[in-house]
């Protein structure tokens, strides 16, 4: 009997005030974005880690243009034989995703043959293809950067917003068109290596040690940290919370002012990025440098600096040694296969792209939409420049076309903010999965990025049937063991709570979490496979990391002493924080 986790709590919900749930206002390729319906329980839905805060009405555009357009389109163009991409349902403000399977055997066969023709040329020409795509994205980016919104009429701002959304949509078409074939190739290689008897813990190393744009940002942050220390600014950083540092430095003048100039130069290059993945509700570092300053603050707490050159050289050396060691265990025939697969995966390097593309797409692609929405907010007299992010697409189209006065929406915006906050509070206790737990999932994105492997599925089943969990296991993503105090973080805003030597426990990480890896002892994620962000960065930084643990953020409490074995995938709760003992041992403490 399959385990079914009900969706009722989402059906009874009234959803965003003033908007009809289930109404779809964007084209979709296979299946539209909707709120949950009872019949959705027949399918399997997982809580998406990308938006730990939930999504504002305007933020839902990502679901429409990302999953329900771009992923579904990509799964048809370079067809995934058994899948049509990803669809989603909304639980309050939170996104649950689900694979769209192909079940007709004849069609699967035809799709497989199409893939067979299309995949090799894509991989062989990946450099050129990705280069052209990046250029296209950059060209539009430059266009939007060049527009002076203050000089546009409301009508032209509306046109600019439409363009910005089209740009956003196109960027995610590119995103999934690249991601599926790269990932399929990588997973094929990974699985073949496993079948050849190679140690799964070593396979991830074969493709490591290549610089990405995101690592470049981290390197610059460390350079700024060194400069801050040299300028004697450590006490200023230590004395203020992250959001007060800028003002404190500006007030101090002298060396602090000089440092701030350098910092501004940094921001002009690397600051055009949001703090989370593809969410219009997030500001860029330019608008709010708190995350970058907070990162430098925590870097300063670490007495030894992260030596990027040494780490990179070590990663390259480790890569070459791992490849040599692996090849030495293979027959000549197997080496030929291995070499072919490795060359293919290096020419079209998924782990590298998975980090690199965030710079060009995920972290900045929503900014032009945000700017246009904010400009419209100012123009129509909204109380706050972010208020328009609480409008749905039709509403902002009407408002900016002058068809509907903003004043009539003001009250709704306030109610919707409360609704957003209500669901933000609920996030930590939301079910990780709902609907019918399947035997297995075969969309490579869901397996490798979201960690929906059989281990995760069985863990979820065990817990929903009332099983007790004490030692947790997951995917061994980055080797080594680390021990420390657990910090349960639900989003990157909380990164400042992490002290050096602690263990980061979270649903999942994205690029804005990267700086934390320079100081943590270990990392544990609810989701994610060997290719998730945490796994890749964990290996780059040599931080023991276990992913796809399932319910780590629920079972481990903030303050628990935990030991993380990234080699075996085992997470042990050594000393439970007092408040959590009742959760783990419901009977204890009652006598």
């Amino acid at each position: 009997m399959a385990t079914v986790i009900p969706v009722d709590e989402f059906i009874t919900d009234e959803w965003y005030p003033g908007f009809k749930p289930g109404y779809t206002h964007a084209p979709w390729y296979i299946d539209p974005v909707q709120t949950f319906r009872k019949q959705d329980e027949e399918n399997f839905w997982f809580l998406d880690f990308h938006w730990p805060r939930g999504l504002t009405p305007m933020g839902l555009i990502w679901n429409e243009d990302g999953y329900n357009w771009a992923s579904q389109l990509a799964a048809e163009q370079m067809p995934l034989p058994p899948g049509r991409g990803i669809t989603c349902r909304l639980g309050g403000t939170h996104t649950y995703g689900s694979p769209l399977p192909v079940t007709d055997v004849r069609e699967i066969g035809q799709r497989a043959r199409r893939l067979e023709r299309a995949l090799p040329p894509f991989l062989q020409n990946f450099d050129t293809i990705w280069g052209d795509m990046r250029e296209e994205v950059n060209e539009s980016w430059d266009y939007f950067r060049g527009v002076d919104l203050s000089k546009l009429s409301l009508e032209d701002l509306r046109e600019n917003l439409i363009q910005a959304r089209q740009y956003h949509k196109r960027a995610f078409e590119i995103h999934f068109q690249v991601m599926y074939p790269l990932l399929a190739n990588y997973v094929g290689f990974y699985s073949m290596c496993t079948e050849l008897g190679l140690d799964p813990g070593q396979i991830g190393k074969f493709l490591q040690g290549y610089d990405t744009k995101i690592m470049e940002t981290d390197r610059e942050l460390w350079r700024l940290t060194t400069a801050a220390r040299a300028a004697g600014l450590e006490p200023v950083f230590a004395a203020h919370e992250a959001d007060g540092i800028w003002a404190a430095l500006a007030a101090q003048g002298g060396a602090a002012s000089t440092w701030l100039t350098t910092f501004d130069d940094f921001l002009q290059v690397y600051g055009w990025r949001t703090e989370g993945s593809c969410d219009v509700a997030l500001p860029s570092w330019i608008e709010d440098p708190t995350p970058a300053l907070g990162t430098i603050k925590t870097f300063l707490q670490k007495q030894t600096e992260h030596d990027f050159e040494a780490a990179r050289n070590a990663a390259v050396e480790e890569r070459e040694a791992a490849v040599d060691a692996a090849r030495s265990t293979l027959t000549l025939e197997e080496q030929k296969l291995f070499d072919g697969g490795l060359a293919s995966c290096r020419a079209a390097n998924f782990p590298w792209w998975q980090d690199d593309h965030n710079y060009y797409i995920d972290l900045r692609i929503s900014l032009p939409m945000v700017w246009a929405c904010q400009a419209i907010a100012d123009r129509v007299g909204a109380g706050h420049s972010d208020d328009t992010l609480y409008l749905f697409w039709e509403e902002i189209m009407d408002v900016s076309a002058g068809r509907r006065p903003y004043a009539g929406l003001r009250g709704l915006v306030e109610e919707r903010k409360q609704y957003f906050d209500y669901w933000l509070q609920r996030r930590p206790t939301l079910p990780k999965v709902v609907g019918t737990i399947p035997e297995s999932v075969n969309d490579p994105i869901l397996i490798e990025i979201f960690g929906l492997n059989s281990h995760f599925l069985r863990a979820v089943e065990a817990v929903s049937s009332g099983g007790q969990v004490k030692t947790l296991t997951g995917v061994p993503a980055s080797k080594g063991t680390g021990r420390g105090t657990a910090r349960i973080l639900h989003n990157a805003d909380e990164l400042h709570r992490l002290s050096p030597g602690e263990v980061l426990v979270c649903e999942s990480t994205s690029p804005n979490w990267t700086p934390a890896f320079a100081k943590i002892a270990a990392c544990v994620c609810d989701g994610g496979g060997t290719l998730s962000h945490a796994a890749i960065v964990g290996r780059e930084y040599g931080v023991p990391t276990v992913t796809a643990v399932g319910l780590a953020t629920m079972v481990i409490a903030d303050g628990d002493e935990v030991e993380v074995d990234g080699t075996t995938g085992r997470v042990t709760v050594l000393k439970q924080a007092v408040a959590n003992q009742a959760v783990l041992n419901p009977g204890a403490g009652r006598g």
Binding site: L80, P81, P82, G83, V105, I108, A112, L115, E116, R117, L119, P120, L123, A184, N185, V187, G188, F189, Y190, S191, M192, E195, S328, T329, L330, T331, L332, E333, E334, K336, L337, D339, G340, G341, A343, S344, N442, P444
Partner: protein
């Protein structure tokens, strides 16, 4: 009239299996390949038949086993097998046959420049390793037998083992008559083993034919063959002879020659040898060379039991004491791809459909 004694290096290879049974016949077949074989002879199927006729055993066996069908219960089978064996054990070998075997043994000793050379006396029944029936390990083998009387007794025990309970039960189930598998017995010099083991020219688990798998331990191979010891595990690339994997096992039991008893016995492995790697690269190459020669001879994958003589010098071959074509391979598997094909790999591993 066929001979009762057939020397390993004298019998015509095409007659070898018919006259000498599976085990000894296959060994003799390898003579033309030039692999190193032990000196020895076979007490042939003809000898067994003469003994059978001389002792008049047909009636005894028919009386005991005649009534048993394929569904006979274990107790019934055991009782019948015990009765047959008791009868066989009480029958002496004829003086004429005993003299021929004794002469052959003395000849063997002389060929080995020894008096009362220690030997391995091995059952070698017709059809014992055929494609449809495997009697592996069911019939007797005696290691370290020396002196004509002991050899004669060991030969007789091998004959008797044709009727051990497991063999009788197996034949009943398979619908085989004992007359379909007459028992020859090999008498071969006991190679003084520094190390021995088995080698497969295809992976016994995956069935892949691009690597050779060797399992080995110190001393004689009995402890390895019977699974009494966890052997060192070696994998070698067939195309280039490169050692791909060498797992040193903790080898706690050894088959070694007990001079007082005159037999190979299993004892505790001396501490200094437990964790020591058994084969060096040169020795591995010699094992590989022997296995590949045998495989080329049969034209399909083989498993080979081999011994490394303690007097062997670098560059000399290892001695093949048993070889068997592996006709029943691992479950049929898809052909191994030879080139990286991303779509095929994705289909196989990602989109399992």
């Amino acid at each position: 009239m066929p001979d009762v004694i057939a020397w390993v290096d004298e019998i015509a290879p095409e007659q070898a299996v018919g006259a000498c049974g599976a085990k000894m016949g296959r060994l003799a077949e390898l003579l033309p390949t030039g692999v190193s074989l032990p000196k020895g002879f076979t007490v042939t199927v003809e000898a067994y038949r003469r003994h059978w006729a001389h002792a008049g055993l047909d009636d005894v066996v028919d009386a005991a086993l005649g009534g048993l069908g394929p569904d006979a219960g274990p107790a019934e089978v055991e009782a019948a097998a015990n009765a047959v064996r008791a009868e066989l054990a009480s029958q002496d070998i004829s003086a004429e046959l005993a003299a021929l075997i004794g002469d052959a043994y003395e000849e063997l000793s002389s060929r080995c420049f020894e008096i009362n050379v220690p030997t391995a006396v091995r059952s070698s029944a017709i059809g014992e390793d055929s494609g449809t029936a495997s009697f592996a390990g069911i019939f007797d083998t005696y290691l370290g037998v020396s002196g004509p009387d002991r050899v004669l007794e060991a030969v007789r025990q091998c004959w008797v083992s044709l009727f051990n309970t497991r063999a009788v039960a197996y034949r009943l189930r398979a619908g085989l008559h004992h007359r379909d598998m007459p028992m020859a017995v090999g008498v071969i010099e006991l190679i003084h083993a520094r190390a021995s083991g088995v080698a497969f020219s295809a992976h016994p688990v995956t069935g892949k034919t691009d690597r050779i798998v060797i399992e080995t331990s110190w001393g004689w191979g009995e402890a390895v063959v019977q699974g009494l010891v966890t052997p060192d595990h070696v994998e070698v690339g067939k195309a280039d002879g490169r050692v791909l994997k060498y797992q040193v096992a903790a080898k706690t039991v050894v088959s070694n020659f007990d001079y007082a008893v005159g037999r190979v016995v299993e004892t505790a492995m001396p501490a200094r040898l437990v964790d020591r790697r058994v084969l060096d690269d040169e020795q591995i190459a010699a094992v590989v060379d022997a296995v590949l020669t045998v495989e080329r001879h049969y034209g399909y994958p083989v498993d080979v039991e081999w011994v490394l003589d303690r007097h062997r010098r670098e560059g000399e071959p290892v001695c093949v004491v048993q070889a068997r074509p592996v006709t029943v391979t691992a479950p049929a598997r898809e052909p191994t791809p030879t080139e990286w094909n991303p779509a095929a790999m994705a289909a196989k591993y990602v989109f399992r459909s």
